[in-house]
Symmetry: D2
Subunit: 148 residues, 4 copies
Amino acid sequence: MSVIGETTLRVRYAETDQMGVVYYANFLVWFEVARVELMRQLGFSYKQMEIEDDSFVVVAKASCIYKQPAKFDDVIRIRTQVSDSRKRTISFSYEVFKDGVDSLIATGETLHVICDSKGRPKSLPDKYRRYFPLTRSANATTTRSAHR
Amino acid sequence: MSVIGETTLRVRYAETDQMGVVYYANFLVWFEVARVELMRQLGFSYKQMEIEDDSFVVVAKASCIYKQPAKFDDVIRIRTQVSDSRKRTISFSYEVFKDGVDSLIATGETLHVICDSKGRPKSLPDKYRRYFPLTRSANATTTRSAHR
Amino acid sequence: MSVIGETTLRVRYAETDQMGVVYYANFLVWFEVARVELMRQLGFSYKQMEIEDDSFVVVAKASCIYKQPAKFDDVIRIRTQVSDSRKRTISFSYEVFKDGVDSLIATGETLHVICDSKGRPKSLPDKYRRYFPLTRSANATTTRSAHR
Amino acid sequence: MSVIGETTLRVRYAETDQMGVVYYANFLVWFEVARVELMRQLGFSYKQMEIEDDSFVVVAKASCIYKQPAKFDDVIRIRTQVSDSRKRTISFSYEVFKDGVDSLIATGETLHVICDSKGRPKSLPDKYRRYFPLTRSANATTTRSAHR
């Protein structure tokens, strides 16, 4: 149902640490790359969203589960999808693979709040709603919230 | 009960992004800095732990909740503690403050597996156990697991 | 004659690469940290210079000579000075030491152009001139330029 | 005469700073990416060179001249060539373009010493000499050195 974006990148020497593997914070950098590419694949430019619509996709939560190390020069493939979409928030989920062997090396999630350039939360502009249709559970929020 | 380490650092220009705030992945870098300082405050050097005891504190999970932005030149204070300690794993929790105003700007957690230099999980060497006493729930794991 | 600023920092795990030493680009990050600290030691805040005076110290050239590696957890000391100061440009030079042993591990230089927030070159505002007095050779530029 | 490698990459959000442009140290990261790609285009894998031949291309000098800013989401093209090759050292030069407009935004150079995994200088292994033929001036070093 949901669009799944795919991004590939090659591990940079700069991204490794003295354990000989990719430093853990860099997975969040890759998530950002994957997120921006997903938006391009959905049909719009995140760069233009910031400039033209004063709408910033600000990170409110991020998490990553590391299963296997990534190494220098590895080709990494990231599958990204919108896991939740509400009036003012969007969540993405990520699956990180080592290309060729197709082994899942990490998964992650990020939750974002739409803000203006001053950092004030705002609703996602209507023109972007078609890329981020409200998730069903979000539609049902009012009726279901009592059960939480 | 648990030791709480404190680390301060000043936000680098390099750590900001074009939103004018600290890029989100850098909080995980700060967690690493805080973790290493906590170990020093506990009484040992993580550097020596790697070299002398072939024991690497490898990240298996990381998460961060972002509450307020950090900005260039801010002095950041991180309170770190061991939130869980088991035979082969250690968890840390982090609270990130903007110094002076004492406002909590982020919280985070990381879970680590002790590994040798080849990435194979191993038990935490005995000499480090006094810094990471087994958490009570860990002692009671077998009896309590049925209730989860 | 010239003020020499001193900054110390501890090498982060994030700054190492799989060679087991600090990745080369990070020395330029340290130069930035040292530059900002020199300005603070000179008597003003670079952060405020950007905000209050719409003056950005934009890098036009950077170089570094690497003599010895820096390693994780090393305490690094950087001695910084203004090596040249003209109407619209400022140059800094850096000496990087490993603390304790006092061995010089790297040297570097950066040349900067004062710009407004739109990236247009401008003269250094008068209020900052006392921190960056024109270097003698700069005063003599017109008469000496024929000899170059 | 010399082989020119080409690499393209897209500017990451992580690479920008609060000036709204790419932070200057990241150009050195790009140089590393471009250098590794040039080696691949020359016919070998730098990763394997480290693993199989205990030969590390260690940076001894790096410089960059910044002409125009690079911005988020820009596609960057880097032309790389071996500018000098001697018994134990290799130099690379880099030209950084903004794709599409073909404007040169930066140039750079790096000088490297071949070292073993312990950081001791060594000669470039013979099997790599065909990728890095001795430069003419290097051949003539002894006779010409008196004139320097």
